[in-house]
Symmetry: C2
């Protein structure tokens, strides 16, 4: 009997049946240390090759993702039950994201390079840039295996900013995680990237070892409050603490102004959009609208209940999420939430049915389950008598990643204040539409005040996502040849730079 027989694994589960199949073995401590050392060894190369070269590496990965789409989608479907169509779309968006970040990296605006001569005597040559911070540990999400997973936004933006990445495999899709890493490593190797540019470790202990590793300079996480805050705490206790960018999520509000439902049929349209939005992906979105605040008597609440009764759920991603969903529903009811409707379900496994609960607006406050994220296809509805009452309730919610306002058009006298009130609580506010679509664009902000994230300045999507993996350095009177390329007189990377403000 050897010790290897006791090696733990991450078993792979089918959400449709709950049945387990063999998954990858946990990465032993020595192999985690080797992965981190390899990343640290690659850093001097990854951080100093031209951004155009890194773009080439990343485009090779994007191409490989597309080339392996069929197998990856099938594997993802086995482990997530999110549906092949959705998963194929997500994979293609994931490949597009990889190219987006590669281009943003080459574009170089993220370096915020600035070259200045401070008038003397004697004049001072002063230059600054946001330079790559070092190897980054990435903990991807369960719910978007491609866009927020092993090769998701965090990995893409770290690589684009010149940082090697070590990913911890998600236990909700361990086999997919390993396969994605194999494909990425092969593509990177073929493109000429150092082998430490990207690697994967498996297992809870391996994840902790990653956060503890002295070579790791920053951590990115997408997932639950509990998981995110545990990593924040872990990183804080290191001898040298490092930034943790945890995107967690809470209850995203949807506010209707009194004029929102004035037009005929509008209540039904808003209700339909809301139900579609909170049941999308079986409610497993960090931007799921979790609470609708509507004027009393608008008919929207009844329309939501009616729609939800006919809405179909699906299988949740894991046994843990399914159990938390059932517990969450019970807690919401126990706290006074009134079940208005329960939708349709699937059979077996981790199936979950949509649910809508009515809450008295005064009960929306800290210390109740109504302000906590309940992952899955459930939403709360509350009615207000005055907008002031709705604004007061909004201010008692935990800040969130996103929120929506439905109004009566640009002439709605309440719209500006409603938008401002929601904006004060969220990272992104959407008018007249659902808040759960996050597009990968320069003007996106996917973040928000604590506890929706651990850093209110950080976004995990869009061009500004690279900033998380940089650290500014100023160079004073440094001869040209000793400057990093981004700051040399000849501007060899042809990046945008701010020149003298004098």
């Amino acid at each position: 009997m050897t010790t290897t027989e006791f090696t733990a694994t991450d078993p792979s589960h089918s959400p449709r049946t709950g049945q387990a199949t063999a998954g990858p073995a946990h990465t032993p401590a020595a192999a985690v240390a080797a992965a981190v050392a390899s990343a640290a060894g690659a850093f001097p190369v990854v951080s100093t090759v031209t951004p155009a070269e890194r773009r080439r590496w990343m485009e090779a990965v994007a191409g490989a993702l597309e080339a392996h789409a069929d197998g990856l989608v099938a594997l993802a479907e086995e482990e997530t039950a999110l549906g092949e169509e959705r998963l194929r779309g997500e994979l293609l968006r994931g490949a597009r994201n990889m190219r987006y970040y590669a281009a943003a990296g080459e574009g170089g605006a993220w370096l915020r390079a600035r070259v200045q001569t401070v008038p003397g005597p004697p004049p001072v040559d002063l230059r600054r840039a946001d330079l790559p911070i070092g190897p980054v540990a990435v903990f991807g999400a369960s719910n978007f295996p491609f866009q927020f997973g092993v090769l998701g936004h965090d990995t893409c933006s770290a690589l684009a900013a010149g940082c090697p990445v070590v990913v911890k495999a998600h236990p909700a899709h361990p086999r997919l995680s390993v396969r994605l890493a194999e494909i990425a490593r092969a593509a990177l190797a073929e493109a000429g990237a150092p082998s430490g540019t990207f690697s994967l470790v498996v297992g809870f202990e391996a994840g902790l070892a990653l956060v503890d590793a002295p070579e790791i300079a920053a951590v990115a996480f997408t997932g639950s409050q509990a998981g995110g805050m545990a990593l924040v705490e872990r990183a804080r206790r290191r001898p040298a603490p490092i930034p943790v960018y945890a995107e967690m999520g809470t209850v995203n509000p949807v506010l209707l102004t009194p004029a929102a439902t004035a037009a005929p049929g509008r209540a039904g349209e808003i209700a339909a959009a809301f139900v579609e939005s909170f049941t999308l992906g079986v409610g497993q979105y960090c931007t799921k609208p979790g609470l609708l605040l509507a004027p009393r008597g608008s008919g929207v609440v009844e329309a939501v209940a009616g729609r939800a009764a006919g809405a179909r759920g699906g299988w949740l991603l894991t046994r843990g999420i399914a159990a938390a969903y059932a517990d969450g529903l019970r807690a919401l009811e126990a706290a006074g939430g009134e079940v208005l409707a329960t939708g349709l379900g699937e059979d077996g496994g981790y199936s979950a049915r949509p649910a809508v609960l009515r809450v008295a607006i005064g009960d929306l406050r800290e210390g109740t389950p109504f302000t906590e994220e309940c992952f899955g296809p459930v939403a709360l509805v509350a009615e207000y008598d005055t907008l002031q009452e709705a604004y007061a309730a909004l201010a008692r919610l935990r800040p969130s990643l996103a929120g929506s306002v439905y109004g009566g058009g640009a002439a709605d006298p309440d719209l500006a204040e409603a938008v401002a009130r929601v904006a004060a609580q969220v990272g992104r506010v959407v008018v007249d539409g659902p808040c759960n679509g996050v597009v990968t664009e320069d003007a996106m902000h996917h973040g928000g005040p604590w506890p929706s994230t651990s850093d209110p300045r950080a976004t995990s999507v869009g061009a500004e996502a690279l900033a998380r993996f940089t650290r500014p350095v100023a160079y004073q009177n440094v001869p040209d040849a000793a400057l990093p390329p981004a700051l040399r007189d000849s501007n060899p990377w042809r990046i945008p730079r701010c020149a003298d403000s004098h």
Copy 2:
């Protein structure tokens, strides 16, 4: 007998004699709460008036500083003993800084405004900006009563970014703190700013109450490791944690390449600059060069010792700093530091003499006092046999705010690597000059990796300092009238914006 007889105060001390005079009373809890409530009440105005209006407010404060220069300098001299000339220069620089941040605020680049149409169907109107985060608590430094004090960089950059400020008075200069606050409040009131725009509280407990206040959205601190980390910890334990931007400082290294002293007389020049630099302001700079790494046999160490023996110290700011300096010197000696020279002192009070200690390069490592900041006019010198040995020692230091490299000119074959090695450990690297001057310019970075600051991305000086007091918000399909002015089609503030990348 009434309870007011027991009210605690911050007594004011003369560093020259150690004698105390009466200082301001500690702010009671109710008054701290009132100051914070007033700041929160002012936030909707301060954050939404035009940046030009805020500039006008801040310029009024700058003018008032200059108008009251004589009285302020005299008061500062009584409480700091830093010398009237230095203090007058610092006050004038402080007023100039106030105008710099006011102009940066009006310039609007800090908003990072971006307006984008994402192609459809249907097209999505997506806009983002870094908006003011809310009321900011500022804990100023002991050593720069004007530039890093009540109206220093943190206060200026928070106001410029549209955030009301509540400052905690520094116990090293409590009467000056109160006077500065009076002058600022009067100038702001006269300029038409809401009364909650700026206020001051006094006392340790008042400072803690400030960090705990739910209305406070961010904390800025300049000072010691212990003080900064205590605030970081305090803010973390709030029900809703907030960012703490603590600028702390460690041992700033100075590295000489082998070619640095090749030219005749160069060793003496470098030594003179080093001694002047580490004794400036009685060594009370967070950017004080604390360690010189020189090639063995270059003669620099002997020249430093010779210079230091003739250098004059002065009075340290507080009894606590004086005691810590004495303890620090004892600890450095006990750990094996060899005193090469002791300079001249003053009589009485908190006087301190310069000191230079030689350390074996192998002893520079974590767990020794050699890697810890010793505030005051002391510096370490260590000799290396090979640059690799020096680089290894550098990597064992705690990262710092700044560092210097002295080389043999642009043709020095070691210069580029020496700069890169120092840059990997610091926030700013200077070639052929001291690292303790921090100019208030757009390209400045005054920050550094932990433990020199609590956030490696943050700077407390320069245009990027405003970013600390902002939070990005994205607006999706929001009608023009409901957008914040910075993002409206008409761009009423005439700020630079990134338009469509498509």
